[in-house]
Symmetry: C2
C-alpha cells in the first residue's frame, strides 16, 4: 500500500511538472526535489525517466479518455457533447505546456507511441461516432463525410502543438486549439444546431462559474 502511494505520488508530481514545463526540461533531480524524495526512491520505483514519462503519458490519456467517456454518457445529444468537450478542452489546453507533445515525439518514442494509439483508437473513433450521431439526430450537416472529417479533426489537434506551424513566441496554445475547435464545430452544425450549441455552452459556463 505504502509502495503504491509512493509510486502514485511520484507519477502525479512528475505529471504536474511535465504539464507546466514540458518533458525535456525536467530531470530526475527536478522530480526528486519537487517531491522532496531522494533520487534513490525514484529509482526504486522506475527504471529511468523514460519509464516515468511513459507511465505518466499512459495515465494521463486513460484519465482523459475516461473523462470524455463520462461526457458522452451524460450528454443529451451530439451537440451537448461538443459543448461539454469545448469547455473541458479549454481547461486542459490552458494547463498544458505546448512543447509537451513534440517533446514526446523527439525524445520519448514509447510515450509518443502511446499518444498515437490513443489518437487513432480513441479520438478518431469517438469523433467519427459523434459526427454520425449528430447527422442522425439532424443537428449536423448531412453532407459531412464522418470518416474524412474525423481524420481531419485528429490532425488539427496535433497541428496546434506544432511549433513550426504555430511558433510559441507568437501563438498561445489554448487560443489556437479553441479557434480550431470552434471553427470545426461551426463547420459541422446546421443553423438549428448552432443555436442549440450556443445555448448549451452558455448554460455550462454559468454552471461552472457559479
Amino acid at each position: 500500500m505504502e509502495e503504491l502511494d509512493t509510486k502514485e505520488k511520484i507519477l502525479r508530481g512528475a505529471e504536474s511538472l511535465f504539464m507546466r514545463y514540458g518533458v525535456r526540461s525536467i530531470s530526475m533531480d527536478d522530480i526528486a526535489r519537487h517531491l522532496s524524495v531522494s533520487k534513490k526512491t525514484l529509482y526504486q520505483h522506475f527504471a529511468d525517466k523514460e519509464d516515468i514519462v511513459t507511465m505518466v503519458a499512459r495515465g494521463h490519456m486513460e484519465r482523459s479518455q475516461a473523462e470524455f467517456e463520462a461526457i458522452r454518457v451524460s450528454s443529451e445529444n451530439a451537440i451537448d457533447e461538443l459543448a461539454r468537450i469545448s469547455v473541458a478542452m479549454k481547461k486542459h489546453m490552458e494547463e498544458m505546456n505546448p512543447t509537451l507533445l513534440f517533446d514526446l515525439q523527439k525524445y520519448h518514442p514509447r510515450a509518443w507511441g502511446a499518444w498515437n494509439d490513443y489518437k487513432v483508437k480513441f479520438i478518431a473513433d469517438s469523433v467519427q461516432r459523434n459526427l454520425q450521431q449528430g447527422i442522425d439526430e439532424g443537428h449536423f450537416r448531412a453532407e459531412i463525410n464522418p470518416e474524412i472529417i474525423s481524420i481531419v479533426r485528429v490532425a488539427l489537434v496535433e497541428l496546434a502543438f506544432d511549433d513550426r506551424t504555430f511558433p510559441q513566441h507568437r501563438f498561445k496554445l489554448s487560443e489556437v486549439q479553441m479557434q480550431i475547435f470552434e471553427h470545426f464545430v461551426h463547420g459541422i452544425l446546421t443553423e438549428k444546431g448552432k443555436k442549440q450549441y450556443q445555448k448549451y455552452k452558455e448554460n455550462l459556463i454559468v454552471t461552472i462559474t457559479r
Copy 2:
C-alpha cells in the same frame, strides 16, 4: 521563336503527364515518347528531369496564382470569391494525381521549395485577406482569428495529399479536398453568409454546365 515554342511544348507535355501519373513514374523517355521528340531535343532545352519538374511546378503555380487573382478581382464579395474558388478547386483536384505533391517533397527539393514559397507567400496571404474581408463585410463570423485560421487552411490543403493520412486506395483526392473545403467554408460563414454562398454556387454551376 521556334526555340520558345519547343521549350513551351515540352513543359506543357511534361505537365500533362505529371498531372495524370505523378512525377516519380514519368521518365525523360516517357516525355520524349509522349511528344514524339528525341531525348536529344529534351536535353537541348533542359539540363535534366529535375530542371523540367522545377519549371513545370513554377509555371503551374504562376498560372494558378493568376487564376485565383482573376477570381478575386471579379468577385462581388468574399463569399462570391469562396464559391468561385470551390468550383475552380474541384476541377483542379479531379485532374491531379494525388502522389504529385509528395513526389516533389521526396524526390524534387527545388520544386518542393517552390511549392512551399507559393503556399506561404500566396495561399496563406490570400486566405487571410479573404477572411478579413468577409469579417469586415459581415459575411464571416467575427470570432474568427484570420491569422490562425488561414494557417490551418494551408495545412489542410497539404493534409489531403498525405498518403499516410488519406491512403489513395481508400480515399479520392478530390472528395477529400472538397469535404475539407466545404467544412472550412461552413466553419467561417454566418447564417446569412451560408444562404448567399449556396446561391452563388448554384448560379456558378448553372453558368458552367449551361
